[in-house]
Amino acid sequence: MVAVLLVLIPLVTGLAGFFFKSEGLAKGWALLSSLATLVVVLIGLGMARDSAALHFDCAWLPELGSRFSVALDGLSLILTLLTAIVFPLIFISTWRDKYSKPWNFYALMLLSQAGLLGVFVATDALLFYFFWELALIPVYFLASQWGGERRIQATFKFFVYTFVGSLLMLIGIIWIYSHTPDHSFSIKSFYAMHNKISGKDQTWIFWLMFLAFAIKMPIWPLHTWQPDAYEQAPTAVTMVLSAVMVKMGVFGLIRWLAPVVPVGFWAWGDTVSTCCIIGMIYASLVAIKQDDLKRLVAYSSIAHMGLMALAVFATDANGMQGVMIQMFNHGINILGMWIVVDLIERQFGTRKISELGGLASKAPGLAILLMIVALANIALPLTNGFVGEFLLFSGVFSSAATHYNVVFTCVALLSVILAAVYTLNMIGKVFFGNTNALTSRGVDIKFNEKVVLAAIVVIIVFVGVYPKPVLELTKETADFLLTSMNYKP
């Protein structure tokens, strides 16, 4: 029941949200709904893993062999938790942003949340595909309606990219479905296919489905939609995109691809890993040269996602756990970065690093909180980023799936150094140095923003110092995954 509620609450409140024709009411409604979702996730977290309440299954399309079946396991829980935390934080931190027709904005936000949560809990391939698209459509409307100057082109590029990917994935899903002995879309039938598909078929199914996930993450060279989309979307939507939506790609890889076509996964691992590390270095170098804060954070996100994909293909127990934890961490950290960007843009009307400077003297609270988020972003010990990246690197380094593990680790480590360069460089230029005419009028952050950033900092430090609960949550899933991929007896 918990899993159903996770989808139902944002879906129903989102649909209802279209009819609140008042800004305050719509905002309050959205916040209330997202908090209710958070409570439900926390209840789910508190339950025993095998509790019946975490599963739900009923007939949906009996002729097609598709059922409405949802469930929460370790991986789903950590991602639903991320989604449920991110949305209220977005609503609170952008409380002062003004939108025309705000009720439509908030309703669409809730609908996209329903889609995202659905993706994470679905255990039926067709249902998964449905939610995959449901998450995309509201975001398309959100970004095209309320975005920046070039919003229509940028969002459309994003939409077409992901739509091509998801259609190719659909072919893969249908192919596997039509070869299951019981003609079923259920995840169990899909997993049972892992040793029944020939190597040749595994290859092209792998590529069909991988493209969808690679576009979503995005992995170089399919990343070109991302900086534009992030830049042009309204910040609240950018937060959804980068904190949660890109995780759909990694999630799909772990949940729907690796255990189903392990041979294809293994055979093409080195190719993909090479793309990942090229992307990491490339994105980091581009980020160093960026003058626009949004684009800088966008490129840093490409680099971080590349590392996660690299670790998935390393197929190592530590690495897998690292991926799951890092998905959560990256979502929280990048949300913090976007909030800061949003604050700066709202206050000074610019995102150009070259036009800013000396903010720390005017907004000390903001500077302190940002510093912690930035340190987490470059994975300093005692922050959550360290726990995740340490596991990721140890996974890649001790990977048995590739012969090039040392090369991959060394090159990937370079990107961590580069991350420190662009992050600290940005902080130095924006927050320290002399104030100029524009920034001398700056004021410190308001209460609601402080609350959100403080909450993010608490999560960062908590996971960084005491990662045990998160590690326990993901252990079972990682073990199961490696067993079904034949990497563990």
Partner: protein
């Protein structure tokens, strides 16, 4: 049988109704009544209540054909309810227009249930001739005249080819028969004459459903014809000919599938490519919809290629989803002042209901989940994947579907994200809006619970 009789009779009734009354409302209501009756008697036929006439097995009333009829009749009813008023603007011969529509429906009912090639030919002609007139019904409009002439010339040519093909098949059959289930007659190999006849029929049917490279008449005819009749041609006529197309190839040539599959695959690929790519460059929404109907025909051809149980289920679902969405868009288009994409700019602000429903129809045509169009496309893809061959065509079709997003979303972008004076000719009535909402709800219902249509369908089709 019921619907063939009723549509023919009601066509004559409509013709004479023009003599007895000058009231346009009365004429329209008579037509609506006739269409409602058609839906009912067709349903009665499915339930087993029908007029007993010995057709000497020349017609065969199975569920597949009758469901095809049902979709055609319901769609026509919706079309007349939505756009009946706009028909009055075309000319003074309202009663005759309706009479012609009923005659077309009579042809439709024959084409979906034929059992001999003669009946197929008869049905196709009964559909085509009234359509030539309807295309040219806007007498004072040069484009309409041109369209009618073009359609007539090309149409008669393709009819000639069809006749030649039928003659070849008759000659090739061992017993000299027109019955489609006897033509093949378990022969060990394909005779050249048989193959020639088959290909001629393929070409002429491809012409009728505007598949590339026989599609050249479509954009001009669809653009020139009065928009109400374009909507009628692009939906009801096209999908019911498709039902006949599938029927013909399944019954007559199903056993020789290997020999002609490659031709259908090539036609499907060409249709998808031409339809989608050309639609991208259109400036007028009406012309874009003409090319989009070509592109959608390309998708429907996938069912002809696979020709299994899934394909037959799928074509019915596709017919329903495609007709509902296209009728809805055309109904909105007719009300627009300006048929270009710019004409739709800012429509969402002035007419939120029209814009919202139009968006749902467009999403359905693009095949986005939660709309009927998704399951329609899903079935087409599944049928080919299940047949195990031509996977390259599936990937190609999917890439073309992605291209189609470009032009469908252009309309959405214009309505929602661009500023402009997108206005309708006059304020649409609340009945019109209500009907659009019902139509949109149907599209979504098909996308969430397609069983409503499919459960009774699969029950019959697999026993067919």
């Amino acid at each position: 049988m019921n619907s063939i009789l009723l549509s023919a009779i009601w066509g004559i009734v409509m013709m004479f109704s023009g003599i007895f009354t000058k009231s346009k409302t009365a004429i329209r209501n008579t037509a609506v009544l006739g269409l409602a009756l058609l839906v009912i008697v067709n349903y009665a036929d499915m339930a087993g209540y029908h007029v007993e006439i010995d057709t000497h097995k020349m017609l065969f009333f199975d569920t597949f054909g009758l469901l095809g009829n049902a979709i055609a009749f319901v769609s026509t009813l919706l079309l007349v309810l939505l756009s009946g008023r706009d028909m009055e603007k075309i000319g003074n011969n309202l009663a005759e227009y309706f009479a012609l529509i009923f005659f077309v429906l009579c042809g439709v009912a024959i084409v979906t249930t034929f059992n001999t090639l003669l009946m197929l030919f008869l049905g196709i002609e009964i559909i085509s001739i009234p359509l030539y007139i309807l295309t040219g019904s806007d007498k004072r409009n040069l484009k309409s005249n041109e369209a009618a002439l073009k359609y007539f010339l090309m149409g008669s040519f393709s009819t000639g080819l069809m006749l030649l093909g039928i003659a070849f098949l008759y000659g090739a059959s061992t017993t000299g028969t027109f019955f489609i289930d006897d033509i093949w007659n378990q022969r060990p190999q394909v005779a050249p004459v048989f193959m020639a006849g088959l290909l001629l029929l393929l070409v002429s049917m491809a012409f009728k459903v505007s598949a590339a490279p026989f599609h050249f008449w479509t954009p001009d005819v669809y653009d020139g014809a009065p928009t109400v009749f374009t909507s009628f041609m692009a939906t009801i006529v096209k999908v019911s000919i498709f039902v006949g197309f599938i029927r013909l190839f399944d019954e007559a040539f199903g056993s020789a599938q290997q020999t002609w599959q490659i031709f259908v695959a090539l036609i499907a690929a060409a249709t998808l490519f031409v339809g989608n790519i050309t639609a991208v460059f259109q400036q007028s929404v009406k012309r874009m919809l003409a090319y989009s109907s070509i592109a959608q025909a390309g998708f429907m051809l996938l069912a002809l290629l696979a020709l299994n149980g899934i394909a037959k289920e799928g074509i019915i679902l596709y017919a329903a989803a495609y007709s509902l969405a296209t009728i809805g868009i055309f109904a909105i288009l007719i009300r627009m002042k300006d048929y270009t994409f710019e004409g739709f700019n800012g429509l969402a602000r002035k007419q939120p209901v029209l814009a919202a429903t139009c968006t749902i129809f467009l999403l359905s045509l693009a095949g986005i989940p939660l709309t009927g169009g998704f399951f329609a496309k899903y079935y087409m893809l599944t049928s080919v994947i299940a047949s195990g061959h031509y996977l390259w065509l599936v990937v190609f079709a999917v890439l073309c579907a992605a291209v189609s997003v470009y032009y469908y979303f252009r309309v959405i972008q214009a309505m929602y994200f661009k500023d402009g004076e997108g206005t309708t000719e006059r304020e649409p009535s609340s009945g019109f809006k209500g009907l659009l909402v019902v139509l949109a709800a149907l599209v979504i219902l098909l996308g969430v619970f397609p069983q409503a249509l499919l459960s009774q369908l699969s029950h019959f089709i697999y026993t067919w």
